[in-house]
Each structure stands twice: as C-alpha cells, then as structure tokens.
Symmetry: C2
Subunit: 438 residues, 2 copies
C-alpha cells in the first residue's frame, strides 16, 4: 500500500491530538486517502510519553533535526509554537523540499508572507487550517469555497478564552478578574493570559483572514487592537437592556481602496447569530456578494478540534502527493502576483455606532453639557438612559449613538472627560448593528 | 493567459446566477485561479435572454449537444434539473471526457453511484457542492475538512421552503396552508410544493451526506420520510411551552453496523443552535470524534448562494486542470473500493424521545387508560400536561416520553387510538434532545 511519511515536531496538547487521530482513526484515514499516513517520528525535547497516546517504539525522539533531515519524510507538522525555533524549523523543512503543516498563527501573522514565498519558490505546500478557528474550516472556505465571491465583511469570535470569560461575566455577573481565574482553573486560559485577553491572538487570526479574503499581504501591525480586561458586569447589564451582548470580535471589512481590520469588545444584537455563541466556542460570519451571509461555528481551540484541522491539511497534502502535484491552491487563495499591499483604514476613520457610559454628577445641566460636546463633533444621540445611583453622587449616564466617526468621538470624549461634572473615564464600546445603518 | 472553457446547460435562475458571477467577478476569479474562466456556451431550449445577465453575442444557444460535442469545452455545468435529460447530458459529457458540475440532488440521490462510477472510469471529476446546503460548503467539509473524524451524527435543516413555512407557523400562528401560500407568493415555494414540503428534497440531500460521512453507497430508498403538512400551530405552541421549536430535520447517525437516515418534523430545544435558524435559512450540525460539534449556516437555496457553490466547484476543477490532475479527491470522500452497502436502520428500531398529543374525552380515568397502554409497551412518561378545553368535550392531553423504541410506540398508539375515549388520531412528533439521554 502507498504510504505518506509524516514527522511531527512538538508533542504538546495538539501534537498529541494529531498523533491520537493517526492512531485511532488509521482505517478511516486510509480509506479516505488511499494510502497509509505513517507518523514516522515525533520530536520533542521533553520526550514526555504520558500524553495519553501510545506511540510505536522508536517514534518519539528528542532531535528535530533528525526528522527534518530524513529524506523519507514527506510532510512536517510544526506544533512547537512561537516565532523562534518554529520558524527556523519550518524554513529548514521547506528548504529540504518537505511540505509543512502548522497551526502557528503568531508566526504566520508576523512572517507568513516570507514563509509563503519560501514555500512557493521551493514548490512545496504550506498549510495552516488549524491556525484560525480550530476545527472550523474557515481557511478552506476562504481559499476554496467562497472564491466566486467578493467578500464584503467578516465578523468573528475567534478566541475561546475571551469568549469563555465574557460569557462568565455575562451569565454570572462575575468581575473580569474572577472570570479569568476560573478560565485558568478550567484550562481555558494560559498562566499568562495577555496574548488572549489582550486581543493579540484574535488579531493574528484576523491578519490571516483579511489576506485570504481581500487578496492582500498579511498585515498584523496596522490592526487596531483592544482587549477585554476593562469590560465590567455593569456595561454587560446595560448592553442586555438595550438588546445587545458584548463579544470580542475580529472585524475585517472591504472599504474599496482600504480594509478595516480591528479587534475590540463589541456589542451585537441578540438576533445576530454570533450573540448566541457562548462559552469557549468560536464562530465567524462572512458576507459575500454571492453567498449573502454565511457562518461557521465550532470549537476554536483544544486538543482534538485543532488536531482535526491539522489532519485535514495532512490529508489535503497527501492527496496532492498521491496525484503528483503541489501548489494547486495558492497560499493566500490569490495568485501571488495579484496580492497587493492594501492599506488598513486607520481606526480614526471608521464609522460605527457607539455605546457610551459616563459617570457624572447628579446635578442639573449635566446631560446638556455632554450632549453639547457630542453635538459639536457631529455625533448624534440615538437614545439616552440615566439609571440608578452609583456612589458619591455619581450616576451612570448611558447613551447609544447613530453612526459616528471615531476621530470625532475621540475629540468629543476628551472634551467631556475634562468637564468637572465627570467622575471617571468614559466607557466606550463599539456596536456592530446591521439593522441600524444610520 | 491560460483559459478554462466552460459550457452551461440550463439558463434558469441558478444558471443565470452562475453566469452573473463569471461576468461580474471575472477579475477576482482570474486572480484566484490564475486563468480566465471562459463561459463559452450557455445552452437553453427557451433561449430566454431576460435573466438579468448580459451574455456575449453567440454565447446563448439552444443546442446542448453542440456544447457537449465541443472539444474545447473542459467543464460542463448541468443546471437543468430532474432525472431525465439531465442524466443523459451528464453521461454524455463524461463520455466525452469533460468534467461535470451539478446541483442536481434528485439525480444524485437516485443515480449518484452509477454516475460516480462512470466519471471514475473516464478519469473526470464530478462535483456537486451546490446539491446540498446551497452556499454552505458542506460537501467540501465532509470530503476534505472532517476527514480525520469518525462522524457520529449529522442533523440538518436542509430545505429553505419548509423552514420558511415552519417559521411562519411558529412566529405568526398561521395554519400550514396559509404559510405555504405565502411562501409561494414570496418565491420560496414551487407551484407544486410536494418535493419540498413532503420531505423528499431533504431526503435527497441526506442520502448524499450519509454516503460522504459514513463511506456507504448513496441510498435514498431506505430513508424514512415524513413531511411538514400536518404540523399545526397548536403543536408548535405546546412545543414552545416545553422549550422546543419544531424543525424539519435530516438526521443521519452512525449506529455501528447500520446508520439512521430519517427526515421528519422534530422538536429541538431552544438552546440548540439549529432552533434559531429561521426563515429560508439552512444549517447543519455535525458531530465527530475529533471536532466535537461543528456547524455550518447559510442560504441553502436561491440564485446567488447556489451559484456561489457551483462556482467553487468550477474553481476546484480548474485548479485541477491547471495542475494536470483529476480524481484527486474521491467522489464520496472514501476510496471507491472502501465504500460499503451499510444498511439503514428501519425506523421501527430507532429509539428517541417523543411528544404525543391526544384529543381525549374530558372524563375520569382517561389518563390512566392512555398511560396504561404506554406502560404496557415499555414507554415511560417524562411529563404530562392537560391544558384548556378544545371542543365537543375533547381536551388535548400532551405528553413527553423518555427514550422509547419506535416499534413500541406504534403498538401503544394503535391501542390508544382504538380506545373509545380518544377523539382523533394522536399526534406524534419526535424530539432530538442531546441533554436528555434517558
């Protein structure tokens, strides 16, 4: 029987999941690929064998170089993570003419353009379905299924940790810190949660998706990023009263000569499918001129869902190998000569709806001063709610605005913050509301 | 520049949508494929030109044979529908060495095995993404993305007409007939709605999905099919009170040596993602040993969403052509020699939860007679509700059961229907409830 030889670098959680699929679903893989997917080596410096997976004798080794230099190995799976040694190994694998599968979004967001060029020059495939959205076939959908569409927007919940924490704050009224601790206890957050709760992981993923959707180079540095650490139960409660839920969204929109690329906590209406995507689940909604709206939903992280996506890449490449082709689908869906440097629209230029919460003194004229400042900067108020009493004479005043420009909003807010009637920094949360275009 | 020549048979709604994408998105297609997708001929006996699409001079012809015999044509798109001439044309296209794209689920469900063999013998691709779920990449997900998984179940809303009608009955309390009329007026239902509301279209799609998921031959004839025409506002109202919505579901489950394959109105709990998929939208939830639960959501029909899926097939085949390969992915995901004749479990053998509604006389002992009959057939009642008063002394008695076997249920119901206290035929609706396994 035909055989495809595979070398796995990194025997952590997802790496072990990949090995588990190769072992437990050997038969179903063989009958789908028409060849034996042979996990020849698993390299990990730790040499930990207690991963719940029983590797054959001699498969687990500590020396990654031995895997990279083995002429029998067809495909290298990089499951090390980070931008250091992982990048070196991928480049060496490519240089040795091996196809590469990775889930490393941080690396792809930072160096994906260069890695892609290296793979193309060498005529090998670089596959990365598991880098975004875990088990959801979002990369394949953009590279292969939605190719007849001009994509107009993508809106995604792409980080399970943040979604878990926001769901806890929403459903149980927890403070951010308690929800984070609970996520850590339950294995949904890292000891250092910055990459996740700071929005950076989501931005890595958005950089990849925007490139695929809009035919642009991967551009991480211009993405606007705001994390979830300042979201309070109070704002979530107000959001609920207005018919919204707060989610950390990745937003990528076609704006003609530029694209929007931003990651921030966002209010979305209850009737938006994404508002019901809770716990550690992910989802992405994609709008295109032919499909209208389409969505994918599933586990965006975790051992087996991520491993499922890695294995789909292995099968894709194996089917290529068995057919004697490579480079069948361009790395970023578009032909490399058609990929442009499309600028990211500065966040100051975006227009959106806003939720604003001010802590103001409970005295006459307050509302008129706030509204006056907003009006002077062309921001029109859709509704105002003044509810309850906070402390020391400060009351929360909550407003929803019509479409307003971010630059105007910043100017207005800095004027308002300087008023002596305002107690603490105004809270500003953007709203993504298809039903309210004005 | 490289060119792929395409012939389109059938210039109806979806055919026109496909032409529209080729024309309006020519550039984005060229940059994704690296070749010009040239719609050389559109053949339609009607020669209607008022489809909202401006074809070049000489493209629209009436003679399909001319397209099939043109040696320049690489890919034939069959958009005629039905099992007659469409089948002949596809076989002739295959025989002439042309790749074929179709959305014809009725044909595939009935003759897909034979068509697939013909394509394989001739070494051409037969692609059918648009046959199930419109724009949702469900075929590609099963053939390529979920290949590392053993699929355990699929549950889908796969017919927009039925979903539109059920949503109308649910949200506006309409009777079935009025909702159907409104669907017809709004273009969501055919003049002869039997194929849709009878559940047959959904069954065609399930036959295809089961083959892909479980490595079995396409088997339409053993699917259990029940349509939606007997669903009443009363049962929908009771469903809502118990926390369920009624949807027409396609259910495909791995049962070891057999599969479940059934289409019927089903109650699903509010917290099931599918219960919020309304109007003419489609969705499918797939469970696999690695992915856990994953779902796709989108427009399952309509001009442009369906055309988007057709074009994705064209791009797939074009990428194959430009790489000089065909048959890269097996027609049904599994190697043909591994495809088995897995039997469909007779519906009498399935176990599920049931909603039962009896119209009974309002007199002492009624409940004990009904409960007694159920108990004699091992059916255990989870809850009973007796509400309001219907007419002529008959009251609705509603019950939810624990897991029960369909054969037992039938026996019990025929005993109950024969009781002199029962006024009309009992209503029985199956419940799909992950949270209640007992």
């Amino acid at each position: 029987m035909k055989k495809v030889n595979i070398g796995l670098l990194g025997f952590g959680t997802v790496g072990a999941g990949v090995a588990k699929i190769f072992i437990e679903n050997r038969e179903v893989l063989r009958s789908r690929v028409g060849a034996h997917l042979n996990l020849k080596y698993v390299a990990d410096i730790d040499m930990k064998t207690d991963r719940g997976v029983r590797l054959d004798e001699g498969v687990l080794i500590s020396d990654a170089e031995k895997v990279l230099d083995d002429p029998d190995i067809d495909i290298i799976i990089e499951m090390i993570g980070g931008e250091g040694i992982a990048k070196e190994f991928i480049l060496k694998a490519i240089d040795n003419g091996k196809h590469v599968v990775t889930a490393n979004k941080a690396l792809l967001a930072a160096h994906g353009n260069a890695l892609g060029r290296a793979a193309m020059e060498k005529g090998v495939d670089l596959a990365y379905e598991a880098s975004v959205g875990g088990c959801m076939p979002i990369i394949k959908s953009l590279r292969e299924s939605l190719v007849g569409n001009r994509i107009s927007s993508m809106i995604g919940i792409l980080n399970g940790t943040c979604n878990y924490i926001l769901s806890k704050i929403t459903d149980e009224g927890m403070a951010f810190e308690s929800a984070l601790s609970q996520a850590q206890e339950n294995g949904f957050a890292e000891a250092d949660p910055t990459l996740d709760v700071g929005g950076f992981d989501t931005a890595h993923k958005l950089a990849i998706l925007n490139a695929l959707a809009y035919g642009m180079e991967i551009n991480l540095k211009d993405i606007y990023i705001e994390g979830i650490s300042e979201i309070t139960p109070l704002d979530i409660q107000f959001a609920g009263e207005f018919g919204y839920r707060i989610k950390l969204l990745a937003i990528g929109k076609d704006r003609g000569d530029s694209v929007e690329a931003r990651v921030h906590p966002t209010m979305i209406p209850f009737d938006n499918l994404l508002s019901n995507v809770n716990a550690n689940l992910n989802a992405i909604s994609i709008s295109g001129d032919a499909v209208g709206d389409m969505a994918l939903y599933g586990f965006g992280a975790g051992m087996m869902p991520t491993a499922s996506a890695v294995v789909s890449d292995i099968v894709d490449i194996s089917r290529n190998l068995l057919s004697g082709v490579s480079g069948r689908v361009p790395l970023l869906s578009y032909q490399s000569e058609d990929i442009r440097k499309i600028p990211v629209m500065p966040v100051d230029e975006i227009s959106t709806h806003y939720y604003l919460r001010f802590s103001a003194m409970d005295q006459p004229g307050v509302l008129s001063k706030i509204a006056g400042a907003l009006g002077r900067h062309d921001i029109s108020i859709k509704s105002v709610h003044q509810k309850g009493r906070e402390l020391e004479g400060l009351v929360p005043i909550v407003m929803l605005t019509h479409l307003a420009k971010e630059a105007d909003m910043k100017k207005a807010l800095s004027e308002i913050a300087a008023l002596d009637i305002i107690g603490s920094k105004p809270v500003i949360i953007r709203i993504e509301d298809k039903n309210g275009q004005d």
